[in-house]
């Protein structure tokens, strides 16, 4: 247990007040007395029903900031008065249509950093956030009469905690999302969640919600799953959810219905084992880089025996430690990027310039081409035509797309009619003129060789209209060079997907020297239609993600080439909590592709990008990577592979390897910014978050590099 969770008592006296949020969209807690319908058990009397509503429509979820908490507090004052006057038999709380409560206003957590006069003051404000939440929310469970949460819609974080403080909960089977996403954001459920949830549904299930789901890319529950976990006592369909919930409450109050819950074990050994298992999982994934998880686990461990006051104060203290941590600041920044900047890309010409795309051509019928064809087909639902030099390959390519559609249909992800529609829309031909007639967009996904791509684009240009947008999925070649000899180079744009294209949300949209605004606008509109997040990048070698990953990987492999044991080099970056180690990444990319990109980059920037002899040797031997996976599922380097290593006599320590890799990343980021590869550092981070899956707690990468001193604070 960490030091702060050992301070069980809360100092008396005045607490630091929460600073006001000038832009808070205030969720008001509206209190009404509602007469309940009679039941077989008699007249249930009246209930005090609190509605949480921010007065906005369904596009603005309800959240609790300082003013929202004050409103809830005063509604609970009103409810307490009604209880004292004997006017109500119970208290209930629900939300506006489609939302129960989407949790704390995140800007409240960030506010301390902006108004605090000192680090101590910032922490005091952070503590106040936890305490104020506890003080208000716990009243729901301490009114002296039963309380009910009617979870009618989205319930996140503090919203779930509001429900947990109540005596009983009903949930709508239409709830699309219920989660405690705090750890994903670098904090923890600090308004009672770590204490109340394990005691309600048991430690194993609680850890699924508090730890495992946030770790799995912030997975969320729906109403039914939440009910199955025991988070709610009753579930009703959305059509008459509130009416049934109120009738259910009336039945509970008149004794017609008893509420059964599964027994929760507080067995010391199994509780400790569950916490230990979750802790090991978080450690394996983050190597200590995401402190929210172990801190939340400390609190779940404490919850088994602690009383409410102790547990809630410990939550407030741990929450405060995390709120002032760099990981949370990075996470908030990253959250904002993927939720706002990713949806409104910077530097893009007006969408009104975009041309309609009613037919798409794909050059190539290999794996990448069929993946692209499938994506365009599924999302744009327009005719998609494949071409290749070889008729057999065309046939196989078209069949691969159709087979993927059928397999999606078999899994229920595409409805039958839709599958028929899509299957009919895909075609292929060896004749480009036939295949691409009427196409508004043609994308090439042929071999990564400049001359090949130039020839392909020239051939396509001969058979399409002058406005047809030509896209290249190149990962490292110069788009300007590719377009240079075309008759209409202004309609060429880079459109770089990440593998697997159906999964990774990023597309780097490359503006070449002569790309015009209409082409660029069309590319962004198409990206949006494909439900990808597009980032505008300049036509510089390997753009953003591959340039950083190649440089990073290059430094680590160089250390191995110099004599560092591969195990040491591979583990050197663990403290960052990256999604995979460098050599696992190499295995995923494939040594041949990695070598090809490394050579391209070496040609462009020989001073900074080397070509590893070990990598060459692995490629020459046809290896898929350095690792072999043992029977136990763990990777190891077998002797045959080790013999391929070309190593010197100058090993580095893990720390040296890490320092070297981070310095290289910092240098490359600084260069990209000065070269204008992206508009701002935020775009580098967005690319790394969405294209490489780099974690929120690093803020992508530049916030981390600035804090670690590998990138200047400004610039």
């Amino acid at each position: 247990m960490t030091s702060s969770t050992q301070s069980p008592t809360r100092p008396s006296g005045s607490s630091t007040p929460l600073p006001e949020l000038p832009d808070e969209v205030v969720t008001r807690a509206l209190l009404r007395e509602v007469a309940l319908p009679r039941t077989a058990g008699g007249d249930p009397g009246t209930i005090a029903l609190i509605t949480l509503d921010n007065g906005r429509d369904h596009t603005r979820p309800t959240t609790l900031g300082p003013a929202g908490l004050a409103s809830l507090d005063s509604a609970l004052d009103g409810a307490a008065e009604l209880v004292a006057a004997g006017r109500v038999r119970a208290v209930a709380i629900t939300g506006k249509p489609f939302f129960f409560l989407a949790g704390a206003d995140l800007t409240m957590a960030a506010s301390g950093a902006t108004v605090a006069t000192s680090a101590e003051h910032a922490r005091e404000i952070a503590v106040a956030i936890g305490r104020r939440g506890h003080d208000v929310l716990r009243r729901l469970g301490e009114l002296g009469v039963p309380s009910f949460a009617f979870v009618n819609g989205v319930a996140l974080g503090g919203g779930v905690e509001v429900a947990l403080h109540c005596t009983y909960r009903t949930i709508s089977s239409g709830v699309p999302a219920l989660a405690l996403p705090e750890c994903f954001l670098g904090i923890l459920p600090g308004w009672g969640g770590t204490y109340l949830l394990p005691r309600l549904i048991g430690v194993e299930r609680a850890l699924e919600v508090i730890i495992a789901n946030p770790m799995q890319n912030n997975r969320m529950l729906n109403g039914r799953k939440a009910f199955d976990l025991g988070i709610a006592d009753a579930m009703f369909e959305p059509a008459d959810f509130l009416e049934r919930s109120l009738v259910w409450a009336a039945e509970v109050l008149t004794g017609v219905r008893s509420v059964e819950r599964a027994e929760v074990s507080d067995d010391e050994a199994s509780w400790a084992a569950a916490v230990a298992e979750a802790r090991a999982g978080a450690e394996l994934k983050f190597h200590g880089a995401a402190p929210a998880y172990p801190r939340a686990l400390d609190l779940v461990a404490l919850a088994r025996t602690a009383d409410r006051d102790t547990a809630f104060e410990a939550e407030s203290q741990s929450l405060a430690d995390l709120i002032v941590s760099p990981q949370f600041a990075n996470s908030l920044y990253a959250f904002d990027l993927v939720n706002k900047r990713a949806k409104r890309p910077v530097g893009v010409p007006s969408a009104s310039l975009a041309r309609p795309v009613t037919k798409v051509g794909v050059v190539g019928a290999g794996l990448m081409a069929t993946q692209l064809a499938t994506l365009f087909l599924r999302r744009l639902k327009v005719p998609v035509a494949l071409t290749d030099l070889d008729a057999d390959r065309v046939t196989r390519g078209v069949e691969a797309v159709r087979s993927e559609i059928r397999s999606q249909a078999a899994k229920g992800r595409i409805r039958g009619d839709e599958a028929n529609r899509l299957e009919a829309l895909v075609s292929g031909s060896v004749e480009a003129a036939e295949a691409f007639a009427g196409a508004d967009l043609v994308i090439e996904a042929v071999f990564e060789e400049l001359e090949v791509k130039k020839q392909v684009l020239a051939a396509v240009e001969r058979v399409v209209s002058p406005e047809c947008v030509l896209m290249t999925n190149t990962s490292s070649l110069s788009v300007s060079a590719m377009a240079a000899e075309l008759e209409h180079p202004e309609r060429v744009v880079g459109f770089h997907f990440f593998n697997p294209v159906a999964v990774l949300p990023l597309v780097e949209v490359v503006r070449a020297e002569r790309t015009d605004d209409a082409t660029l606008a069309t590319a962004f509109a198409v990206g949006k239609g494909l439900r990808k997040s597009c980032v505008l990048v300049a036509d510089a070698p390997a753009f953003v993600v591959n340039r950083l990953l190649t440089r990073f990987l290059g430094e680590v492999t160089a250390a191995v080439d110099e004599g560092t044991p591969v195990e040491v080099a591979d583990a050197a970056l663990e403290p960052l909590g990256l999604p995979m180690s460098p050599f696992t990444l190499l295995q995923l990319v494939g040594p041949a592709v990695a070598l090809h990109v490394a050579e391209t980059m070496h040609a462009a920037y020989p001073d900074r990008f080397g070509v590893s002899q070990t990598l060459r040797s692995l490629v020459a031997a046809g290896r898929t990577g350095v690792f072999t996976w043992g029977m136990d599922g763990k990777p190891y380097v077998d002797e045959e592979t080790r013999a391929l290593f070309v190593q010197g006599e100058a090993p580095s320590s893990a720390e040296q390897v890490r320092e070297r890799a981070l310095s290289a990343l910092g240098q490359e980021c600084a260069l990209m910014l000065s070269e204008g590869v992206v508009a701002e550092a935020a775009d580098i981070d967005l690319c790394m978050l969405l294209g490489a899956g780099w974690p929120f707690h690093l803020g992508g990468i530049t916030p981390y590099l600035r804090r670690s001193g590998h990138l200047p604070r400004t610039g």
Partner: protein, 408 residues
């Protein structure tokens, strides 16, 4: 009645509490389709033995069929209620007798063997859809004097009815209206109305949720003196007031009807059996007299006489129209067989929904009065019509003994 192949039974009926139309009414921020969906779901919840896929039709009436009462509301409310997509539905309009027509139309299908089970109901959100919303009367109505222009304003037709029947005085109407209020108050007191109500969620202007569990329109304690003081909005020195008429209301109803055989097969309760129905047209400017010829017609067709009818549920659009009916059949103004628990003057009249309320209340009376064999539900209808439906009480000793011989 000739042609009935299958007996049609009324299984159950429910309604939302009725609200006052307008910004301050309980349903000001509640959708009309949600009101009727709530009723349909309540019927399904009360009768879990009915497999929803056995429902052959969902007929929902609304007078104004646009906005939240549009999109073929019978079909749309079936979907919104979560019925299987295989269950069809349609929209009906016969002004005030919409729900009644939903029942008689689907009942005809059941009687002929084309349906086994149907849901019939109606909704009118007069707050969202004021009477006359979007109407575009044909200019020939005036040019060719086809219909007196007053026929389109219901209050004026009620004044016209007073002109035709001078014996029906304003005083009699006010006494009748006060009695309706008193009967509703007594029924509420005794808990007789609540069982047919489905609690309905509401939202106020600030966004706070509430729950409607009782009707909003009733004014218990209304006296004849109170009513005498009200102004007559349709004519200077007229007789029709807000107090001796039904108000402008929001609400919905729905009922479950089935063939007697299928009800028995599925174990559905039988609360009434349909004996016969008739609709009749009258001069549109005195539409309130409609129940008289409609009732004469249904009596003639069923071979029953007015003396056979032991209970009357007559819609109280206007007191004058009820009294004109009672005078015609020689029934006293305060006859306890007529609207025993009061009527629309107190409860409200959300136009197209009211027909099923009459039936649901009659079914409730049948249960309490096994000595009554036949009951009548009847109502006047805008543009000059009346509708009457005769029902038989399954609790009566002679229930079912007069059934028509059926084809083998």
């Amino acid at each position: 009645m000739a042609g009935i192949l299958h007996d049609v039974v009324f299984v159950d009926g429910v309604r939302t509490p009725f609200g006052k139309a307008g910004e301050s009414g309980v349903y000001a921020r509640t959708r009309a389709d949600d009101l009727v969906v709530r009723c349909i779901r309540e019927l399904l919840a009360r009768h879990p033995q009915l497999p929803p896929e056995r429902i052959d039709e969902v007929a929902v009436a609304a007078t104004t069929q646009t906005g939240d009462q549009g999109l073929t509301i019978g079909r749309m409310s079936a979907l919104l209620a979560g019925l299987p997509r295989s269950v069809p539905g349609f929209a009906i309009d016969r002004m005030c007798a919409g729900a009644m027509t939903a029942v008689t139309t689907t009942a005809s299908g059941i009687a002929s063997g084309f349906y086994d089970v149907a849901i019939a109901g109606g909704v009118e959100h007069m707050g969202h859809h004021p009477m006359g919303e979007g109407v575009d009367p044909n200019p020939r109505i005036v040019a060719e004097k086809l219909v007196d222009p007053s026929a389109l304003v219901m209050g004026q037709t009620a004044e016209n009815l007073h002109d035709r029947f001078p014996k029906v005085t304003k005083q009699r109407c006010d006494v009748y209206a006060a009695a309706s209020q008193a009967r509703v108050a007594a029924a509420y007191e005794a808990g007789r109305l609540q069982a047919d109500l489905v609690p309905m969620s509401t939202r106020d202007a600030e966004g706070a949720w509430g729950l409607a569990t009782v009707d909003e329109p009733p004014r218990p304690g209304t006296t004849v003196e109170d009513l005498a003081a009200l102004r007559t909005p349709f004519r200077p020195s007229g007789r029709v007031t807000a107090g001796n008429s039904a108000g402008l209301n929001d609400g919905a109803t729905a009922c479950l009807i089935a063939s007697a055989e299928v009800a028995a097969e599925l174990g559905l309760p039988v609360r009434m059996r349909l004996v016969g129905y008739a609709f009749a047209g009258v001069e549109p400017e005195v539409m309130g007299i409609g129940p008289v010829p409609a009732t004469e017609k249904v009596l003639a067709r069923t071979g029953l006489s007015i003396e056979d009818i032991g209970l009357f549920e007559i819609n109280e659009a206007f007191a004058v129209q009820v009294l004109a009916f009672l005078d015609h059949f020689g029934i006293a103004d305060d006859d306890p067989r007529v609207n025993p628990d009061g009527g629309a003057i107190a409860l409200g009249h959300p136009l197209a929904s009211s027909g099923v309320r009459l039936m649901t209340q009659l079914a409730r009376h049948f249960q309490d009065r096994p000595e009554v064999r036949y009951g009548l539900t009847t109502m006047c209808i805008g543009i000059g019509m009346g509708g009457s439906v005769i029902w038989e009480n399954p609790h009566h000793a002679d229930y079912g003994t007069d059934r028509t011989e059926r084809a083998a």
